[in-house]
């Protein structure tokens, strides 16, 4: 009987540990990269997969200011980034090729480029409930080799249980944008 119980105990423990094993699948960090060496970055225009035309620019703006506010790295002003993109003739600034990333790094004199995709931004509806939602993913490209050294995703907002039960329309868009960007930056440092 004792052996039976201990077998069940071990089995359950393994089951729970297995549940924990999924870990941070939404982050990738290159183990060989020295992130402390990244002092200056350029935040490139984000790709926009939403219906809101200005969402990518709004998120980029919040991200750049928040990145500066962390004190970890210096982000170039967007006007300077735009000049670099024009000078190097990058076809799609939201997703530069390896060669383009290296070239951009040389022109802008930055250690890394940050690209991103805004996948969802705005109101979602489910039966009678509505709420704001944002979903982002970002990448850091090292400019010496053009390799992707960090990626992360974040999703905030959406319709929760309380929204379904009591309504309310969720939190304001600006608030969840800041939260999502903060979450992504926490995954970087």
């Amino acid at each position: 009987m004792k052996r039976f119980l201990s077998t069940i105990g071990i089995g359950l423990s393994l089951l729970f540990l297995g549940g924990c094993a999924s870990g941070n699948l939404d982050i990738y960090r290159d183990q060989n990269m020295d992130f402390g060496a990244v002092r200056t970055v350029a935040v490139l225009p984000f790709a926009n997969l939403t219906r809101d035309n200005t969402s990518s620019e709004r998120v980029r703006d919040v991200f750049t200011t928040m990145l500066l506010a962390t004190g970890g790295v210096y982000a170039l002003p967007p006007g300077e980034v735009a000049r670099g993109v024009i000078r190097t003739g990058v076809a799609n600034a939201a997703a530069p090729s390896v060669e383009e990333a290296v070239k951009l790094g040389g022109v802008l004199k930055v250690d890394a480029l940050i690209t991103g995709v805004v996948r969802e931004y705005g109101e979602v509806r489910s039966s009678t409930s509505t709420a704001n939602v944002i979903s982002l993913s970002m990448q850091m490209v090292e400019t010496q080799t053009g390799r992707v050294v960090w990626t992360a995703t974040a999703t905030e907002g959406g319709i929760g249980v309380t929204d379904r039960l009591f309504g309310g329309g969720g939190r304001p868009m600006n608030e969840i944008t800041e939260k999502a960007v903060n979450e992504i930056i926490n995954k970087l440092f």
Binding site: R58, D61, M66, L68, A69, G79, A82, I86
Partner: protein, 394 residues
């Protein structure tokens, strides 16, 4: 009896001396410029930044009448028209160096009043937003005085709605009256007490970064370039730049360049901003304008509402570029709606985007001009509580 008279004389002398000492200790404002107070001014035609058709002539006539009522000597209409025709002066939103000098030498005026109409909404309750600045005529066009007024018909409804203003001409007259009162105080060198008002916490930037190397002083020269406009509102970039010019000029502890001078250099050097100011363009501006800092940014939202129900929304980010380091020394992100922090009976609600934007810009300027975590800057302990993210690093 005699002794009491002497004592009262003594008290008067003491009070006057005290008053003089207090006046000497008052921080200088844009209007306290002593020798620069002009005796005769020119009032330029009003520039329309409202994005809609506006009876500018009527508004200007009312402005001229109010100025005359307060004893401000104004350059005659015919003389002004001749001057403008002679110099082919079409842009009236600013004064460049050549025009300022010509005004001084040919028209004999000491200052030029530049006025912009930023909102003129006749829908009930009506709304109006006016902004003006007085620029000195002469070799160097300096901003002597700057102020703005923004009003809505339901700002103070009072008991049973007795305070409601239903028609726009009445509201316009009140707004112009207030603006000219402030101008008269500026012209007579009395200044503007509102310049040192502390901004409410809800209008401060939500996220901000301030480099400890940033030190603005009296000798600091700042140029404000138009903000990149990503909002639905026409001229929002220009309006926000004007907010920054006004708020910085009113503080009086820095020198702000007249936007007309900045515009003229943009045209002369054919500077075009792609998604904002590049460092190459900034370097040109640092040299030709001889400024220490440049303020730039992006406007995301600048929305007013029509009618009685609704709330204005303003969202923008701003950057301060430093000449010495060629780096961003202040970055901020601000967003608010008119009813933020309002819980009871709409008390304290901001009814126009102009008023909301002014307060938000004042919050950024406060952060810009106040070193460290002084009482006027977001408290680091606020971090994470009200959406404030505060930082200062090397």
């Amino acid at each position: 009896m005699r002794s009491s008279t002497s004592f009262s004389d003594f008290l008067v002398v003491v009070c006057l001396s005290g008053l003089l000492c207090l006046t000497a200790g008052t921080p200088a404002t844009a209007a306290d410029d002593g020798g620069k107070v002009p005796s005769r001014i020119a009032i330029l035609p009003i520039i329309n930044l409202s994005g809609s058709a506006v009876p500018l002539r009527e508004v200007r006539t009312a402005l001229l009448a109010e100025a005359a009522k307060r004893g401000i000597t104004v350059l005659g209409e015919e003389e002004l028209e001749k001057f403008m025709a002679r110099h082919r002066l079409r842009y009236t939103g600013g004064v460049d160096e050549t025009t300022a000098q010509a005004f001084h030498e040919e028209a004999g005026v000491g200052g030029v009043l530049v006025t912009s109409l930023q909102q003129y909404d006749a829908t009930y309750p009506p709304k109006i937003s006016l902004e003006a600045r007085l620029v000195s005529a002469g070799e160097v066009p300096d901003i002597i005085w700057a102020d703005a007024v923004s009003m809505a018909g339901d700002d103070a409804p009072g008991l049973l709605g007795r305070g409601l203003v239903e028609n726009l001409p009445q509201l316009t007259a009140t707004a112009i009256g207030r603006l000219v009162d402030s101008l008269a105080a500026g012209v007579t060198g009395k200044g503007n007490a509102a310049a040192t008002e502390k901004v409410a916490g809800r209008f401060r930037p939500r996220i901000s970064f301030r480099s400890p190397d940033l030190a603005l002083g009296e000798k600091s020269r700042i140029a404000v370039v138009p903000f990149f406009n990503r909002s639905q509102r026409s001229y929002a970039g220009e309006i926000l730049a004007l907010h920054f010019v006004r708020e910085l000029a009113r503080r009086g502890d820095v020198t702000v360049l007249e936007p007309g001078v900045v515009r003229q250099k943009f045209l002369a050097f054919r500077l075009i901003m792609d998604e904002g100011l590049s460092l190459a363009n900034a370097e040109v501006l640092f040299e030709v304008l001889n400024v220490d800092f440049i303020v730039t940014g992006t406007v995301m939202e600048y929305d007013d509402y029509e009618g009685g129900a609704g709330t204005p929304r303003v969202a923008f980010s701003s950057w301060l570029l430093d000449r010495k380091s060629r780096r961003v020394v202040l970055a901020s992100e601000s967003h608010n709606s008119g009813d933020d922090g309002i819980h009871f009976f709409e008390l304290g609600k901001q009814r126009t985007a102009h008023l909301l934007g002014s307060n938000m810009v004042r919050g950024v300027v406060e952060r810009m001009t106040s070193p460290g975590a002084s009482a006027s800057t977001p408290d680091p302990s606020d971090e994470g509580k009200d959406g404030f993210i505060y930082n200062e690093f090397n």
